[in-house]
C-alpha cells in the first residue's frame, strides 16, 4: 500500500516554498530540499522530461497535431522501434495563462470556470465554495445539494466522454458513437435545465445564479446511465477492447490523482474529505491493476455511484443554511472528474490575491509518461484516453 501523505501541490510565495499534502487540509511551509527529493517535482513546473539513451535508440515524434490524439501534446518517444523505452511530454504548444490575481471575485469566477469547459462546474464550485467559506457566506442546503447533483452530473458526462474516446481509440466505433449520443442527450438536458450545456454561469458566490430544473436533468440522467451500463457491459465481453486496454500503461504512483490513483488500489477520493459531501454515504471505487482496464473499470463504475449520490441528494433531509468556516492556510479542494484539484488563494479588499491551482492533469500527465514505458507505440491512444488528461488544466493560473 502506498503512502497517502503524498505531496500533491507545491508553490512559492514571497520567497518561501509551500506544499500541499494529501492527508492535510492546510498547506505547509517546506524546504526546497524536501521538494528536491520528490522525483516528480518537475511536473509541478509542467516539465515531463525522461531522456534515455542506448544502442539504436532515437527520439520518435508523436504530436502535437496528429491523428489519434484529441489534445495538443507533443510526445517524444525514446525507442529503438515500437517499444517505448521512455517518454518526454511537451505540453507547451497550446498553453493558456489565466490571470486571476487582482481581479474581482465575480470576474475571477468567470475566468476559473472557463479553465476546463468539460469540468467547469467543478472549478466554479471549488472557487465559489472557497470564497463563501473564507468570507463566511452561508448557502442554503438546497444550493449545496444542487451543487453536488450538478457536480455528479458533470462527472457522469465526463466519464461517458472518456469512455467514448477510449472506445474510439480502441476501434470500437459503434460503442463510441452510441456513447457520444448518450452524452449529447445528457448535455442537452443540462442546457435546458441550467441554461448552458457546459454549466457556465450557473454558480455565483453565495449560491446559484439561475433556477435549475434538476428533475428534468436527473430524469434524463437516469436513462442515460442505464444505457451506459448496458454499453459498458457489452464492452466487457469485447475481446478486442479488453485486449487493447488490459496491461496497458500500468501507472501505480501515489502522486497520481482521481480514477488513475484509485485504479492502482489507493482508496483516496477527495469527496471523502470534502465538507460538501459530509453526511453522504460514499465509498470510493478502487481496482488493483493500475492499467487502462482498471482505470476504465473505476470511472465506468463511478458513473453508477454518481447516480446513487444524485438519488440521495434529490431527497435531502436537511434544511436551512450550510457553512463550514475555512481553516487558516487551507488548501481548498474538490474532486473533479479527473481527480482532485487543490486551490490556495487569498482575498484582499474584495479582490483576489495570490492564487495557486494544482489541477489533476498536472500530476496525471507525469503518471502517464512513466506508466507508458515498456508499452508499444500503438498503445498510446488507449493509455492516454484512460487518464482523462486535459491540456487546458496544464495552463498557468496566476
Amino acid at each position: 500500500m502506498m503512502a497517502l501523505d503524498t505531496v500533491s501541490g507545491y508553490f512559492t510565495r514571497d520567497g518561501r516554498s509551500y506544499c500541499i499534502i494529501d492527508s492535510d487540509r492546510e498547506f505547509k511551509e517546506c524546504t526546497d530540499d524536501i521538494i528536491g527529493t520528490l522525483d516528480y517535482s518537475e511536473s509541478f513546473r509542467r516539465i515531463y522530461s525522461h531522456p534515455v539513451s542506448g544502442e539504436n535508440v532515437f527520439k520518435f515524434n508523436y504530436g502535437p497535431s496528429t491523428g489519434g490524439m484529441i489534445e495538443t501534446l507533443d510526445l517524444k518517444i525514446y525507442t529503438y522501434g515500437e517499444r517505448i523505452l521512455s517518454l518526454d511530454v511537451l505540453p507547451g504548444y497550446k498553453q493558456r495563462q489565466i490571470r486571476i490575481a487582482g481581479e474581482s471575485k465575480d470576474l475571477a469566477l468567470l475566468r476559473i470556470e472557463r479553465l476546463n469547459g468539460f469540468h467547469s462546474f467543478s472549478y466554479s464550485t471549488l472557487f465559489s465554495s472557497a470564497v463563501e467559506r473564507m468570507l463566511e457566506i452561508p448557502v442554503s442546503q438546497e444550493v449545496r445539494y444542487a451543487r453536488i447533483i450538478l457536480l455528479e452530473i458533470e462527472r457522469i458526462t465526463s466519464h461517458i466522454f472518456k469512455t467514448a474516446r477510449l472506445c474510439e481509440s480502441a476501434s470500437q466505433n459503434i460503442a463510441s458513437y452510441a456513447l457520444m449520443g448518450l452524452r449529447e442527450r445528457l448535455m442537452r438536458a443540462i442546457a435546458e435545465g441550467t441554461g448552458h450545456r457546459y454549466l457556465f454561469g450557473v454558480n455565483k458566490i453565495g449560491g446559484l445564479r439561475r433556477k435549475i430544473d434538476l428533475d428534468r436533468i436527473v430524469k434524463v440522467a437516469r436513462g442515460v446511465v442505464k444505457e451506459y451500463v448496458n454499453i459498458r457491459n457489452g464492452l466487457f465481453v469485447s475481446r478486442i477492447f479488453i485486449d487493447r486496454i488490459e496491461n496497458t500503461c500500468r501507472a501505480e504512483y501515489s502522486f497520481a490523482r482521481g480514477p488513475v490513483l484509485r485504479a492502482a488500489g489507493i482508496r483516496y477520493d477527495f469527496r471523502m474529505h470534502d465538507p460538501y459531501y459530509s453526511g453522504i454515504d460514499f465509498t470510493p471505487v478502487t481496482q488493483n491493476g493500475g492499467d487502462s482496464l482498471s482505470r476504465f473499470l473505476v470511472f465506468s463504475e463511478e458513473v453508477e455511484r454518481s447516480m446513487e449520490i444524485i438519488e440521495k441528494c434529490m431527497t435531502p433531509g436537511e434544511r436551512g443554511n450550510f457553512l463550514i468556516p475555512s481553516h487558516e492556510n487551507e488548501a481548498y479542494g474538490i474532486e473533479t472528474p479527473s481527480g482532485d484539484a487543490r486551490m490556495v488563494f487569498s482575498i484582499n479588499n474584495d479582490h483576489i490575491g495570490h492564487i495557486y491551482l494544482r489541477t489533476p492533469s498536472i500530476l496525471n500527465l507525469e503518471a502517464f509518461a512513466r506508466g507508458i514505458r515498456g508499452n508499444v507505440k500503438t498503445d498510446i491512444p488507449f493509455a492516454l484516453e484512460s487518464f482523462g488528461i486535459w491540456v487546458s488544466e496544464l495552463g498557468d493560473v496566476a
Partner: protein, 623 residues
C-alpha cells in the same frame, strides 16, 4: 580434340594470371565468363552442342541441366568479376581465390562422373574456405564452421555416391537409382550446402562474420547455392520418385523459406540480410524439387515439367538478383545497415538496385515475381488435388508457411533498398559500385524483357530432361495478349490452370506512368513531411523498421531487451545456431569425459580398448 575441353579450360585463364596481374585477371574473367554464358545461350537455342569427353573413368559433358546452370552461374560470375575490378582490384590472393572458386564451380557443372563431381565439389568447399579465411585478422571460427558443414555435405555425398555405385554399377551421372534412401542421402548432401533451416548458419555465418569479401559473398550465396540445386536436380531427375521424399523436401523447404525470411527482415548486417534471403529462396527451390519428385511419382508429365521449368526460372532470377543485391552491400564498408552512409550512386545505379530488390521481394513483372508465381502456382495446383490427399494437405500447410515467408520478403527488401541507398556521403568513389550495379540491374531486368525466350529455351531443355518427345512450351496467347507473351500453368488434367504476362504488367505500369505524366505534365506537387506540425528532428532507423517483428516474434528471435549501465539495447539470436552451439558444447563435454575415462593415457585401459576393438572386429567378420 573434343571442343568441350574449351569450356573446362576457359575459367582457368584468369586463374593463371591472377597472382601476377590481379586486375587483368578480372578483365579476363569477365571475358571468359561472358563467353561461357554466350556459349550456353547458343547451346540452349539449339545451334550448338557438345559431346561428352571421357578419359578412363572420368568424363565431362555439357548437356541438359548443365547448360542451363552453366548459363545461370556464368552470368553471376560476370557480375563477380566486374565488381572485383572496382573492389580491391590489386589484392593478389583475393584474385586467385575468386578465380579458383569460379573454376571449381564451373567444373562441378560439367562433371559427368560422380568421382570428378565430388572432387570439384570438395575443391569448391576449399576455395570457399580460402575466400573467407584468407585474411589473418578475422575470427577463426566462421571459416571452420563453413568448412565443417561443407565436409558434412561431402560426407553425405561420398556415402551417397558409394551407394549409388553399388546400386547402379555406374560412376556416370544419370544412372537410374531405384532406392529412395540413396537419393535422400545424396539430396541431403546438397541441401546442407544450401543452408537450409536448421543449418542456415552455413549461409550467413561465413558471409556476415567471416569478413568475406563481397565478391566471395556473391559466389557463396548465388553461385554455390545454385550449383547445389543443380546437384539436387541432376539426381532427382534420374532417381525413382518417392512421395515421402517429395513431402520431406516440401516441408523442409517451407520451414526454411519462412525462417529465412523471418531472420532476414530483422537483420541489420548488409550481408547477413541477403544471406538469410538466400536461405529463404533455397527453401522455395527445395519445395519445388519436392513437388517435382511427387508429381513425377504420379506421372503427371505436364505438371512436373511445369514445376521443373519453375525451378529453373526461380534459380535464374534468384542467382542474378542476389548477385546484384550483394553488390549493393559494397556501397559502404560499414556492415551495419542502421549506421551506414554509402557512396553516392547515380540514378541508373539506384534504379538497378531497386530492380534487384523488387525482384527479391518476389513481385511481378520482375524475375523473382515470375519465379514466385511458379512456386505458388505449383502449390495451388497440388493443393487442389483430390486424388492425392497427402500431397494436397502438405501443399496447403507448406504453402501457407511459404506465402507468409514470401510476404515478409517485401518489407525485408524495402528496408534493404531504402536504408542502403537512402543516405549517402560523397567519398569520390561513385564509380566503385555504379558499374557492376548497373550491369547487375540490367541483367535482372533482362529476365522480364526476355522471359518468353527463357521460358521457350528452358522448356525445350525440360522436355529433353523429362524425355518428353513433344516439347511442352508453356507459352500461349490469351485475352488479346499475343504469343509468346503469356506464360500459363497446367492443372492436373492438362487444362490451363492460370497464367501471367510480365510484358502486359510492364506495359500497364509504363502506360499508367505515361498517362499520369501526360496528364500531370511536369507539374510536381511537393508536400513537406507532416511531423505532427513541427520540424522533423530524428529519422526512422532500419532497426526500428523491423523491431515490431522482433517484439511480436520474441520467442523466435529470443529477443532480449536489457538496460545495462543506464543504456538500453536489444539483441536477437538465431535460435537454431544457439541450439547447435549448445549441442556442440554437450558433445565436447561428453567427449572430454569419455576421453578422461576411456582414453586417459592409462596403458592398461588402452590395451583393454584394443582388445575389445579386436574382439569386436573378429565377431563382426565371423558373422
Amino acid at each position: 580434340m573434343n571442343s568441350i575441353i574449351f569450356l573446362f579450360v576457359l575459367p582457368l585463364i584468369p586463374l593463371a594470371i591472377s597472382f601476377t596481374f590481379p586486375k587483368l585477371s578480372y578483365y579476363l574473367g569477365v571475358i571468359s565468363t561472358a563467353t561461357l554464358a554466350a556459349i550456353s545461350l547458343v547451346d540452349l537455342s539449339g545451334y550448338l552442342s557438345f559431346s561428352t569427353l571421357t578419359f578412363h573413368y572420368f568424363s565431362i559433358g555439357f548437356q541438359g541441366l548443365s547448360v542451363i546452370f552453366e548459363f545461370i552461374v556464368a552470368v553471376t560470375e560476370i557480375v563477380v568479376y566486374v565488381f572485383s575490378i572496382y573492389y580491391m582490384p590489386e589484392d593478389r590472393r583475393l584474385a586467385f581465390f575468386i578465380s579458383i572458386a569460379v573454376f571449381t564451380v564451373n567444373s562441378v557443372i560439367i562433371s559427368r562422373n560422380v568421382i570428378l563431381f565430388l572432387m570439384f565439389w570438395e575443391s569448391m568447399s576449399i576455395s570457399g574456405y580460402l575466400l573467407i579465411g584468407y585474411k589473418n585478422r578475422i575470427k577463426s571460427y566462421p571459416p571452420f564452421v563453413f568448412f565443417a558443414f561443407g565436409e558434412l555435405s561431402t560426407v553425405f555425398l561420398t556415402v551417397g555416391f558409394a551407394a549409388y555405385f553399388f546400386a547402379t554399377g555406374s560412376l556416370q551421372i544419370g544412372a537410374f537409382v531405384s532406392n529412395p534412401y540413396i537419393t535422400l542421402i545424396i539430396l541431403l548432401g546438397f541441401i546442407f550446402k544450401m543452408g537450409i533451416v536448421p543449418l542456415q548458419m552455413v549461409e550467413w555465418l561465413p558471409i556476415a562474420h567471416g569478413n568475406a569479401p563481397t565478391s566471395g559473398s556473391i559466389l557463396f550465396s548465388a553461385s554455390m547455392t545454385t550449383v547445389a540445386l543443380y546437384g539436387m536436380l541432376v539426381f532427382a531427375t534420374s532417381s525413382a520418385p518417392d512421395i515421402i521424399l517429395g513431402v520431406l523436401l516440401i516441408v523442409f523447404g517451407s520451414f526454411s523459406l519462412l525462417f529465412g525470411s523471418i531472420f532476414a527482415v530483422s537483420s541489420e548486417n548488409s550481408k547477413m540480410l541477403p544471406a538469410y534471403s538466400t536461405v529463404e529462396n533455397s527453401g522455395a527451390m527445395i519445395m519445388m524439387v519436392g513437388l517435382f519428385i511427387s508429381w513425377r511419382l504420379y506421372d503427371n508429365l505436364p505438371l512436373y515439367s511445369f514445376i521443373l521449368l519453375g525451378i529453373l526460372i526461380y534459380a535464374t532470377a534468384h542467382a542474378w538478383s542476389k548477385s546484384t543485391a550483394f553488390v549493393i552491400s559494397g556501397i559502404s564498408l560499414d556492415p551495419d545497415i542502421n549506421s551506414r552512409r554509402g557512396v553516392r550512386i547515380g540514378k541508373f545505379s539506384k534504379f538497378s538496385a531497386a530492380v534487384a530488390a523488387i525482384s527479391l521481394m518476389g513481385l511481378l513483372p520482375l524475375g523473382g515475381g515470375i519465379g514466385e508465381w511458379f512456386l505458388l502456382e505449383s502449390l495451388f495446383i497440388s493443393a487442389s488435388s483430390n486424388q492425392h490427399v497427402l500431397l494436397a494437405v502438405v501443399a496447403i500447410l507448406s504453402g501457407s508457411l511459404a506465402s507468409l515467408g514470401a510476404g515478409i520478403s517485401i518489407p525485408t527488401f524495402t528496408k534493404y533498398f531504402s536504408f542502403m541507398t537512402g543516405k549517402s556521403v560523397d567519398e569520390g568513389g561513385k564509380r566503385r559500385i555504379g558499374v557492376p550495379l548497373s550491369i547487375g540491374g540490367t541483367i535482372v531486368l533482362g529476365i522480364s524483357l526476355f522471359i518468353p525466350f527463357l521460358v521457350y529455351v528452358y522448356s525445350v531443355s525440360v522436355s529433353q530432361i523429362t524425355l518428353n518427345k513433344h516439347s511442352l512450351i508453356f507459352l500461349s496467347s490469351l485475352k488479346g495478349i499475343p504469343y509468346p507473351f503469356l506464360i500459363y500453368s497446367v492443372s492436373q488434367t492438362t487444362a490451363t490452370f492460370g497464367f501471367i504476362s510480365p510484358l502486359f504488367i510492364m506495359m500497364f505500369i509504363a502506360t499508367a506512368a505515361l498517362a499520369t505524366f501526360s496528364i500531370g505534365g511536369r507539374q510536381r506537387r511537393s508536400i513537406p513531411v507532416w511531423n505532427g506540425g513541427i520540424d522533423q528532428e530524428d529519422e526512422m532507423s532500419s532497426f526500428a523498421y523491423a523491431n515490431v517483428l522482433r517484439i511480436i516474434l520474441s520467442k523466435v528471435y529470443l529477443s532480449r531487451e536489457e538496460k545495462t549501465g543506464g543504456e538500453y539495447h536489444e539483441r536477437t539470436f538465431d535460435i537454431f545456431w544457439i541450439m547447435i552451439v549448445d549441442f556442440a558444447l554437450i558433445i565436447r563435454k561428453f567427449s572430454s569425459r569419455f576421453g578422461k575415462v576411456v582414453m586417459n593415457g592409462s596403458i592398461n585401459r588402452y590395451i583393454a580398448y584394443i582388445i575389445v576393438a579386436f574382439l569386436s572386429v573378429l565377431i563382426i567378420v565371423s558373422f
